[in-house]
């Protein structure tokens, strides 16, 4: 992190991601989406025919699917697909050295503190600037152990036997309109493979940065962790504040083989012009564990329901989610737990904070079919409201068939009352500090379980967001 003097010197807004560099792109697919757009992308990437076909099929599905406004926000109608650019790239392959990264891109990530974090505690980093990764590096010892950490273009080209098997299998193209969109125009994202028994001690990190206006970012991530292996992956996202809407629509697929463990951590801090419509799902084989830690701060509308399909006996799925909806924001988040084997266990803890006119919605789905035995689910949704205009809705859908299962569901709504703020202010905290401390207190029990660096980062983002919410 640059210190405050540096921040002031380069004149970054309080919202630290709010800066951008002039656009200089070698490849620009132009505005709007049709078959030519796809050919453009496929040609630039030099893709195999099956990928081109995969994309074109996806485009048809995307076009045929209606906007899900019958259950989701009407605000989706405001996405103007014709006004979006679907591919912007500088035409360079990702480098392994920050020195070779183009200056503006390098400066962007330096301002976001990425190289510093890499030095301190990361096992590998991928930094994506608009459509393509600019930097990608993994510690040598991991590489020697056979860990693959590349972007999607390279993953499909260099390691088809590893990735093609699972690509689009956890989340089929037609899962929803936006997974279809991603499948048509995907670019960037991480492809990770961890060989059997390899336990990656430090997190791998990806950072997704949108720099250009009227742009859509469609990264595609696939993480395959082989038997008994373990990995923690963290992603961060920011974009500048533009007047116009920006679209971010990712697809993330996780595969945990027998006895494997995946922890996937998201810290999203999109500016409030970004539509963030992301499909994330993992498949856990026997005795495997998939854990999503999903923190959504910022964006205009986020729709994201990380899920786990527990496919093998004793598989475990967990979603821990924190959503903060400030004025003008709607966090529509939740979790999907599909039990598909005996003795599978899932746990959902969702905490949402609504501030001012901010709106948060929890949507959950827990599915336990009749033929299974000994499945468990625990669902806990807590909402915190800060001032009376805030709105929160909970739609938990728990379908449990058969009587050989244990499920538990708890929900609560609490308020940060004016009395509480008054009490804290009487001790000398400003209104913003008081709200920030209340919010941090509300999520504290979850944050304690996060890796240290990450909880610090989250606290900082909450502080920034709450400070900014006081008029």
């Amino acid at each position: 992190m640059p210190d405050s003097a540096t921040l002031e010197a380069v004149n970054i807004d309080q919202d630290e991601g709010n800066f951008s560099y002039p656009e200089e792109y070698a490849h620009d697919a132009g505005y709007g989406l049709n078959e030519d757009t796809i050919d453009f992308i496929s040609n630039v990437k030099g893709e195999a025919d099956w990928i081109r076909e995969f994309r074109k099929k996806a485009l048809k599905i995307f076009e045929s699917k209606p906007m899900p406004t019958h259950w989701a926000s009407e605000d989706l109608e405001n996405i103007k697909f014709d006004d979006i650019r679907y591919y912007l790239a500088k035409g360079q392959r990702p480098t392994r050295s920050w020195d070779e990264v183009p200056d503006d891109v390098k400066q962007t990530f330096e301002r976001l503190g990425i190289p510093e974090k890499e030095r301190k505690y990361l096992a590998g980093v991928e930094a994506q600037f608009d459509s393509e990764a600019a930097y990608s590096n993994v510690k040598e010892e991991l590489e020697k152990q056979g860990v693959i950490f590349v972007n999607s273009t390279e993953g499909l080209r260099e390691y088809p036997d590893v990735f093609r098997k699972w690509f689009g299998k956890v989340i089929p193209t037609g899962d929803n309109k936006f997974s279809a969109l991603n499948s048509a125009v995907f670019s960037g994202g991480s492809f990770i493979y961890v060989p059997p028994g390899v336990k990656v001690a430090h997190p791998l990190q990806a950072y997704f940065r949108i720099n250009a206006e009227n742009f859509g970012q469609f990264e595609r991530t696939l993480i395959v962790v082989d038997e008994g292996a373990e990995v923690t992956y963290m992603e961060g996202c920011t974009a500048p504040k533009f007047e116009t809407a920006t679209l971010h629509s990712a697809v993330v697929e996780l595969v945990a083989m027998k006895d494997a463990k995946i922890q996937y951590i998201t810290v999203q801090n999109w500016s409030n012009n970004v539509f963030n419509l992301v499909t994330k799902r993992g498949m856990a084989h026997e005795n495997a564990e998939i854990r999503w830690i999903d923190c959504n701060i910022g964006s205009r509308l986020t729709m994201k329901y990380p899920g786990v399909i527990m496919k093998g006996r004793k598989a475990r799925g967990e979603v821990i989610s924190i959503a903060l909806a400030n004025d003008g924001q709607h966090q529509d988040t939740g979790a999907k737990m599909i039990h598909a084997a005996d003795e599978t266990t899932s746990n959902i803890v969702a905490k949402s904070i609504s501030v001012g006119e901010g709106r948060s919605t929890y949507r959950g789905q827990v599915h336990i079919p009749k033929n299974l035995k000994g499945c468990k689910n625990n669902t806990e949704c807590d909402a915190l409201l800060i001032n009376s205009n805030s709105r929160t809705d909970t739609y938990p859908a728990i379908t449990v068939r058969g009587n050989q299962h244990a499920t538990q569901h708890e929900a609560s709504v609490s308020q940060v009352s004016e009395d509480q703020i008054f009490y804290m202010q009487q001790r000398g905290l400003s209104e913003g500090e008081a709200m920030s401390l209340s919010v941090n207190g509300f999520v504290n029990d979850l944050v304690r379980e996060f890796p240290m660096e990450y909880s610090v980062e989250l606290k900082r983002l909450i502080d920034m967001e709450m400070e900014g919410s006081v008029g």
């Binding site: 008054f422 009490y423 905290l429």
Partner: protein, 252 residues
């Protein structure tokens, strides 16, 4: 002009009802004043108006703290300027530990960019907690969350000791305390008495004033100070009841 907390002709109302009706009171720095009065006379209202609670409208009057116009300041500014209120009903802050809260409150008093010295902070906090016979485990517990009435009151005094205000108002700090706890809390307050600080102790009962012996006792009835005197006034009130004052007023 000597330093004091000076309240003059203070009128305040809530939801259209006037509660404080021209209250005048001066607490010179270094003194301990007590306010006694029947329930509903406006004692807590006074404390909250002094702290700057926005629920109450101040229509008239002034409050000067060492010459600074308190009514011009925000709640947190008043606090940082040296005004402290020990609440009659301290609020709970779920998930925020006592230590973190105190630390944030102290941090708020430092210039931007300056960090609190964590080691010194814990040392001071433990000292004060020992004086109040508070178990160390309270540092990790959420502020007032699940505390007994007595624990909450002790916690208010701990906060006061940490923040070292110029003027402190204690609103019925004795209520909910057994006699042992009362003595401990009183001892804590007495240790803070000195020429650099003024206290306003609000209480319903004379009992507390046996342990925190006031310099001046005021009687508050219906939003005004109706009688002031020495510490013996508290005993007189205890014997004769508040009716005595109101009757005396009616006669006068």
């Amino acid at each position: 002009m000597s330093d004091s907390l000076k309240i003059e002709n203070l009128h305040a109302s809530v939801e259209g009802n006037e509660i404080l009706k021209g209250l005048t009171l001066e607490i010179p720095k270094g003194e301990v004043h007590a306010i006694m009065g029947p329930n509903g006379s406006g004692k807590s209202t006074l404390s909250k108006v002094l702290a700057g609670n926005e629920e109450y409208d101040v229509s008239e009057g002034t409050v000067k703290m060492d010459g600074v116009d308190l009514l011009d300041l925000e709640v947190d500014e008043r606090s940082r300027e040296g005004f402290f209120l020990a609440f009659q009903y301290p609020h709970e802050i779920p998930g925020v530990s006592n230590a973190n809260f105190l630390r944030a409150a102290l941090q708020a008093r430092l210039p931007k960019g300056e960090e609190i010295d964590a080691v010194a902070f814990y040392k001071t906090m433990y000292e004060k907690m020992d004086a109040l016979q508070m178990d160390r485990k309270f540092t990790g517990r959420s502020v007032n969350d699940g505390f007994s009435g007595g624990e909450k009151k002790r916690n208010e005094i701990l906060q006061m000791m940490m923040l070292e205000p110029k003027y402190a108002v204690l609103d019925e700090t004795d209520s909910g305390l057994d006699i042992d706890a009362l003595k401990i809390v009183a001892e804590g307050v007495n240790r803070m008495r000195g020429p650099e600080r003024g206290f306003l102790v609000i209480t319903h009962y004379q009992r507390l004033l046996d342990y925190i012996v006031p310099d001046v006792v005021h009687v508050m009835v219906d939003g005004q100070i109706v009688k002031s005197g020495g510490k013996e006034l508290a005993h007189e009130l205890e014997e004769k009841g508040y009716d005595w004052v109101t009757e005396e007023l009616a006669v006068a």
